[in-house]
């Protein structure tokens, strides 16, 4: 379960809070869609939940642990083991193959998560197959289409079987058809019931997949009809 209490965030030099007291509870294996205009704070909220941003007021709990209680090492391990991020801009490393991109988290695995090279290769092939990119492991991201790149990014997020998958505009850079394929993938993952998914999106299709859709406006959640949640 993920719980946010009174989350406030203001970027340096900004006049207003990008997040102005967010309270949110997400149950395990839920699919929550967060919609809102550009600049409404969706990405900021996902960054806070995923431990990518530590400068905020309020508290965030994940699996009963307050993220503030983690030092850099603990937060890094959390990102490595329990959280998968999918970014609108993919953030693939062009000098690596798809397989290496997918398994890049293995470089920083510790303890029981540390595996040998053959396991890593097998797992990379497995998650690439999950996103319908079987056999593409040796290709470079620069040779892929936008939809394929986003699928590689999704496979990378799934590599360590995260408990939480955070998707930031996963279809934002894709055409309608390709975006639909990504939505179907997310829907498929949700149906498997293995992870909690929070997706920030403009895409109405994504919001129809999840159990809940939240609208973010002026730093607060509002009802879909425009009122406060």
């Amino acid at each position: 379960m993920i719980r946010l209490d009174g989350i406030r965030k203001r970027y340096p030099g900004a006049d207003i809070d990008i997040l102005a007291g967010i309270d949110l509870t997400v149950d395990a294996h839920d699919f929550v869609s967060i919609v809102g205009r550009s600049g409404s704070g969706k990405t900021t909220l996902l960054n806070l939940i995923g431990g990518l941003d530590t400068d905020y007021d309020g508290s965030i709990e994940m699996g009963g642990s307050n993220l503030r209680s983690f030092e850099d090492a603990g937060l890094s391990d959390l990102r490595n083991r329990k959280v998968g991020h999918v970014f609108q801009a993919y953030h693939l490393l062009d000098h690596l193959t798809c397989s290496e991109n997918v398994s890049v988290a293995a470089l920083f695995a510790r303890g029981e998560m540390r595996r040998d090279a053959s396991w890593i290769r097998r797992r990379a092939d497995e998650v690439l197959a999950t996103v319908c990119l079987k056999g593409a492991g040796g290709r470079r991201p620069s040779t892929l289409s936008g939809g394929e790149r986003q699928r590689v990014a999704l496979a990378r997020a799934l590599f360590h079987q995260p408990e939480v998958l955070l998707c930031d505009e996963p279809t934002g850079n894709l055409d309608l058809e390709t975006g639909r394929e990504i939505v179907e993938l997310l829907s498929h993952l949700h149906r498997r019931g293995e992870m909690t998914i929070i997706a920030a999106t403009h895409d109405e299709k994504i919001s129809t997949v999840g159990e809940r859709t939240l609208r973010l406006r002026d730093g607060c959640f509002v009802n879909l009809d425009g009122g406060g949640e």
């Binding site: 990518l52 941003d53 850099d72 991020h85 490393l93 470089l107």
Partner: protein
């Protein structure tokens, strides 16, 4: 962490930015090359000075001179000789392991011979001294030893009848000869170098191999001189070269101490047998040398500085200066490395953010960048060492072909010791790592979200 994966990550990063890193490495290569070249040169020069030109394992003590110049003359008012009592005092100094007295031959001498070597007989005035054979036993062994007191005995008519260490001397009897022992002599390597480097050119003589000199026999007429006639009849002895040693007199020949004592007593009377002109002192360790020197000087004696200490100091100063030049080059190169890494970190901002997003700790990012810097340092260091070794080979080739022979001219002017090479490689790696540390810390600072946003 997965070792292989990290290796792949580091090498692929280096490949991507190889132009930046190659440019940054030029300074390291030049710095390492300069440092290695000059240190190897300095070490070799130092080795030549201390091991061959000025061997410094022993301290030589001489009476303190008190010369006064009076017109064309220099009056020696100090003590000229050391006697047995002084030797005993020296031996009692703490840190002294052994004392070996040296006695200068107090009579003129002429050396003649060398037909087999030079194709014709040579004759020259020569000076000689005598040393205890034990002083050089570890170098020349048993070949240089005192001659038996029972000298004239067996009658003979050929050299073969006298065995290996004697010859048949027919000059002392009309009715045949008597076996006489060869007197072993030593020469200094400086004599050989001086001959090969300068003397032979003046007289158009062949260059000689020092090893071939062993066993060379020649005659010496003690008490004879071309400068002034002797009041006593000269004594002719046959010498045989027993070895080359830095303990031998620099210009002349060195005989066993007993032989010089015998000759000095023959020409100067019984008192001349107890007058030593210097003493070689073997100290227990090099650390004891300063204390021993102080004690000797307190006794009113002097330690003969054959230039070793000054040469060693001068060499050390030159090495430090040259090393500083190389060090400054490397330091500047390290600053350049830092600059390049700052640029690379900016270029790779989002990539570093992504690595942080998938679980890289701040320390992992620092290690990744520092590992890249270490690889650059190692590669640049190896290249620098290769440049230095190639430069040394070129300098050696130039010296062999263009620089005239001179005493102690070595085949190589450089001592590229494994320790030196390992040290400069380590220095190159350390310089690059130090240069990369500030950018690495900068890259690892901040939240991943900032890096992903390119902030």
């Amino acid at each position: 962490m997965i070792g292989r994966g990290w290796k792949r990550a580091v090498t692929s990063d280096l490949r991507r930015h190889w132009r930046h890193f190659a440019a940054a490495s030029v300074g390291i290569i030049l710095g390492v090359a300069a440092l290695t070249f000059f240190l190897a040169l300095g070490l070799k020069v130092r080795e030549l000075l201390l091991v061959q030109v000025f061997p410094s394992n022993y301290v030589e003590v001489v009476p303190r001179s008190a010369d006064i110049d009076l017109f064309a003359l220099r009056l020696d008012l100090g003590r000229d000789v050391l006697d047995a009592a002084v030797m005993a005092d020296i031996e009692s100094i703490e840190g002294v392991d052994a004392v070996f007295p040296k006695m200068r031959l107090m009579a003129p001498a002429l050396a003649s011979g060398g037909e087999s070597l030079f194709g014709g007989g040579l004759q020259t005035e020569i000076v000689a001294d005598g040393i205890d054979p034990q002083l050089v036993a570890d170098v020349v062994g048993d070949a240089f030893r005192e001659v038996d007191a029972d000298r004239i005995n067996t009658p003979c008519s050929t050299n073969e009848q006298c065995g290996e260490d004697a010859y048949c001397d027919g000059t002392r009897s009309f009715s045949g000869g008597f076996c006489q022992p060869y007197i072993p002599v030593l020469v200094s390597p400086y004599v050989v170098e001086l001959y090969n480097g300068a003397f032979r050119r003046s007289y158009n003589l062949p260059k000689i191999n020092p090893d071939s000199l062993m066993g060379l026999a020649f005659d010496m007429d003690f008490g004879a001189s071309t400068f002034r006639p002797s009041t006593l009849p000269p004594i002719r002895e046959r010498m045989r070269l027993a070895g080359v040693s830095d303990k031998a007199i620099p210009l002349g020949v060195t005989l066993p101490l007993g032989e010089v004592r015998r000759l000095n007593m023959a020409f100067g009377g019984p008192a001349a047998g107890d007058q030593y002109h210097s003493a070689v002192i073997e100290v227990l360790s090099k650390d004891s040398v300063p204390g021993v020197v102080d004690a000797i000087e307190a006794m009113g004696l002097e330690v003969r500085d054959r230039g070793a200490r000054r040469a060693a100091f001068a060499t050390a100063v030159i090495m430090v200066v040259l090393a500083l030049v190389g060090g400054v080059l490397i330091a500047v190169a390290a600053a350049h490395i830092m600059h390049v890494f700052f640029l690379v970190v900016i270029v790779r901002r989002r990539e570093i953010g992504l690595l942080r997003a998938v679980g890289a700790r701040r320390g992992d990012i620092r290690i990744l960048l520092v590992a890249e810097a270490a690889v650059i340092g190692m590669a640049a260091g190896l290249a620098g060492v290769a440049v230095a070794v190639a430069g040394g080979a070129a300098a050696n080739a130039f010296a062999a072909g263009r620089v005239p022979d001179f005493p102690f001219k070595p085949e190589s002017f450089f001592a590229f010791s494994p320790l030196l090479l390992a040290s400069v490689l380590a220095l190159a790696v350390v310089a690059c790592v130090i240069g990369a540390l500030p950018p690495a810390y900068r890259a690892a600072s901040g939240d991943p979200s900032e890096a992903l946003a390119g902030r």
